[in-house]
C-alpha cells in the first residue's frame, strides 16, 4: 500500500498527510512535487491542504495547470483512489474532476475548529472502513469552504449518493446550526460518479491520533487499504 502526496508550492498539509500515511498507518508514502509527471507507482493519491500557488485568481484555480495533474487525472480515469483534502478538494473542483465550486464562508471568517461530520456513504475508497451514519470529529481550517452547486447538479449529487460527508450538529443532524460555513445541504465532502475521487473540506490527516484531539480521521485514510484489498489488491 503506497500513498503519493502531491506537493504544490503553498501546500501546508502535505507533511501532515505524509506523516499520517507513513507513521500512523504504517503505509509506504512518497511526496511528489507538482512539476513531476508520474506518481511513483502509488496505489492512492492525496491532494493536501494549503494554499496552492498562493490561491491566486481563485482557490485551486492555478494548481490544475501543474504538470502532475495530468498524471492524477489519468490515475483517476483508471479508477485509482484520489482524495482531495481542503485545498486539495478545491483543486479537484477547479479541475472539473468533481462538480460544484467553493465560495467564501457564510460569515466571511476563516474557521479553524473541530466540527462534527457524518459519514453518508461507505461505498467509496475513503469511507469503506467507516460505518454509515458514523459521526467523525474532524478539524476544519478554511476561509472558502462554502460549497455551491446549481440546483440540477445538487439534485444529481443527492440522487447518485455522491454526498459522502455532511456537517451535523451535536444531535447528529444536518442543521444550519451544525453548518460551519454555509455549504449547501451541509455538504462537507463529495465523490465523483465513479466514486473513486473524493474531496472533503475537513482534515482527517490532522485527526489520526488521540493526542491531536481526535483520532477519527484515521478511518478515512485506513479505508483505502480496505477498499484496495476488496478490489483485489493494489493497482500499481
Amino acid at each position: 500500500m503506497k500513498f503519493a502526496v502531491v506537493v504544490f508550492p503553498g501546500s501546508n498539509s502535505d507533511m501532515d498527510a505524509y506523516y499520517a500515511a507513513s507513521q500512523v498507518l504504517g503505509a509506504d508514502a512518497v511526496l511528489v512535487w507538482h512539476k513531476d509527471t508520474d506518481l511513483g507507482g502509488a496505489d492512492s493519491v492525496i491532494l493536501p491542504g494549503g494554499f496552492a500557488h498562493g490561491d491566486y485568481l481563485r482557490t485551486g484555480a492555478i494548481a490544475r495547470f501543474s504538470p502532475i495533474m495530468s498524471a492524477v487525472r489519468a490515475f483517476a480515469d483508471r479508477g485509482g483512489p484520489v482524495l482531495g483534502i481542503c485545498n486539495g478538494f478545491q483543486v479537484l473542483l477547479e479541475s472539473g474532476m468533481l462538480p460544484g465550486a467553493m465560495v467564501r464562508n457564510r460569515e466571511i471568517k476563516f474557521v479553524s475548529r473541530h466540527v462534527a461530520v457524518r459519514v453518508e456513504q461507505t461505498d467509496t475508497p475513503f469511507t469503506a472502513a467507516c460505518s454509515s451514519g458514523q459521526v467523525l470529529r474532524l478539524p476544519i481550517a478554511h476561509g472558502e469552504g462554502n460549497y455551491f452547486a446549481e440546483p440540477d447538479v445538487l439534485q444529481g449529487l443527492e440522487s447518485n449518493r455522491q454526498v459522502i460527508f455532511r456537517y451535523v450538529d451535536t444531535a447528529g443532524q444536518p442543521t444550519s446550526e451544525g453548518n460551519p460555513n454555509g455549504s449547501i445541504n451541509n455538504i462537507a465532502g463529495i465523490c465523483n460518479q465513479q466514486r473513486n475521487v473524493v474531496g472533503l473540506m475537513p482534515h482527517p490527516e490532522r485527526a489520526c491520533e488521540p493526542s491531536l484531539g481526535s483520532a477519527d480521521g484515521r478511518a478515512v485514510l485506513a479505508s483505502v487499504a480496505r477498499a484496495l484489498a476488496m478490489a483485489g489488491g493494489p493497482r500499481g
Binding site: 481563485r58 477547479e94 462538480p99 457564510r106 462554502n146 455551491f148
Partner: protein, 80 residues
Amino acid sequence: MRARVYVTLKPSVFDPQGRVVADALSSLGYDDVQDVRQGKFFDLELSDTDPAAAKARVTEMADRLLANPVIESYRVEVLG
C-alpha cells in the same frame, strides 16, 4: 489593444462579501443601499488589432480561466 473582463458571482450564488459591505454601508447611514455584489476586473494588453477577434479571444480566456463558470459570470469590453 486593451480589453477589460468583469467577473462577478452569478445572481443565484450568495455573495457573503457583498452582504458585509452592504451592512457596513448601512452602518454609515446609507439606508438606500438595497444590495451589494462584489466582483473583480482584469485589464489585458493584447497584440490583436481587430476588435471583434480580440473580443472572441478574450471571451474564451474568461470562460477557460478568468472566471469559474460554475459560480461566476463575466462581461468582456474591448477598450481599443
